[in-house]
Symmetry: C2
Subunit: 233 residues, 2 copies
């Protein structure tokens, strides 16, 4: 397996591919959760599994202020507010949602530029099939990305609060989607998860509900057959 | 592949197995939906796929008054009431639920006797691992069966109304379960499906929600990795 770190502007990323990958190997964009980064062990494990199981080429990048990228003063204020609220036993979903929304506005153009650069590589077909997978912060980013960029043709999302902005973005997403909803996440709330599922404009959409909070998505809940079914070779 | 029809008392059934099956091949009991039978093409297709994909031995039996089994006068009255209600545009979930409950009370002992007979075969290990899969009527039967018979160790259910009796049975089911919930089934209702999911006593449970009615469960919604993960060899 190839593991190739790259840098595009100020954005650090990693590409994983099979040694024998052809230019028709579908691209799977993998987002990391809030506070994590593109080299987080959970993400790396999922990326390597997708290469080995399905022959996909997988790409991850660090979100603004995550991984190797310095956190801005403004972002630090969001983080401080989150920690304060949590310590005081106050709800944090609103703060997380606003913070993630701000990060997502910055991250979407970075993902699009990454995709431009990937499609310009000789190892990648220009009209290669592209999927997106990622929970929490990555869903905040991915849902907006899928609403704006028709190159994304299938996606797995979950563990994200249904703000008005996100509901609006979801309504403009019409590709096949699989949504994960942890059923006992007091912060996110069941109603928010059901509303987000309802909002997607996709006719081919599935919601996977399972006990527990969004900090512990069981790997078995992600239906790994999904991208194999939807990404074209 | 072996396809062996059998008859046990007044109950007709079919067994599918790999030519090379050992006595440790897990058993998958497949129930048919209301109005269908053990040789319905959809069921046969799923059974053959499970044999070929996972090496399971699959067994299906006709429910009371279904397939080759004559319908009693009492059952005919349920069917007539259902048709009348549907033609009059009245809700039928209540009638279907009562009818299915009555059929299930009769069908559970038949499934248990079938399982006894299978375990007595030299081709089947006495403590073989057993799963159950089936929607609508088959779920009405299977949920009660799993609540009563500890030999069932994993199950896929769905498309069934959450009557008090069924909620009670579900609360006594603690094995891993995967539940399918068609999101736009006006007869069953979303609340009923969510209540049934909540009722299961299982810590390992997943709900798959998808657009459409229970008459058209997309095959892709059944996560075929489920039994491969949970049935012991």
């Amino acid at each position: 397996m190839l593991e190739r770190p790259f840098r595009l502007g100020g954005v650090a990323g990693v590409l994983w591919a099979a040694e024998a990958a052809t230019d028709a190997a579908p691209l799977l964009l993998m987002g990391h959760g809030g506070g994590l980064h593109a080299r987080h062990p959970g993400l790396v494990g999922r990326a390597r599994a997708a290469v080995m199981r399905d022959g996909f080429t997988v790409v991850a990048i660090d979100s603004p202020g995550h991984g190797e990228r310095p956190r801005s003063d403004e972002d630090q204020r969001w983080v401080d507010a989150m920690v304060l609220a949590r310590d005081a036993g106050r709800p944090i979903a609103g703060i997380v949602s606003e913070f993630n929304g701000s990060l997502a506005e910055r991250a979407v153009p970075e993902w699009r530029a990454t995709l431009d650069a990937l499609q310009a590589l000789p190892e990648v077909e220009p009209d290669v099939s592209v999927g997106f997978q990622g929970m929490t912060l990555a869903s905040e980013i991915g849902i907006r990305l899928a609403a704006q960029d028709a190159r994304i043709t299938a996606a797995i999302f979950g563990g994200v609060f249904a703000s008005d902005e996100l509901l609006d973005a979801a309504s403009r997403v019409t590709i096949p989607v699989e949504i994960l909803l942890p059923w006992d996440d007091a912060e996110l709330g069941r109603e928010s998860g059901l509303a987000l599922f309802d909002a997607f404009g996709s006719s081919d959409k599935t919601l996977h509900v399972f006990p527990g909070s969004h900090f512990r998505v069981p790997e078995a809940q992600v239906d790994t057959r999904f991208f194999a079914r939807h990404l074209r070779r």
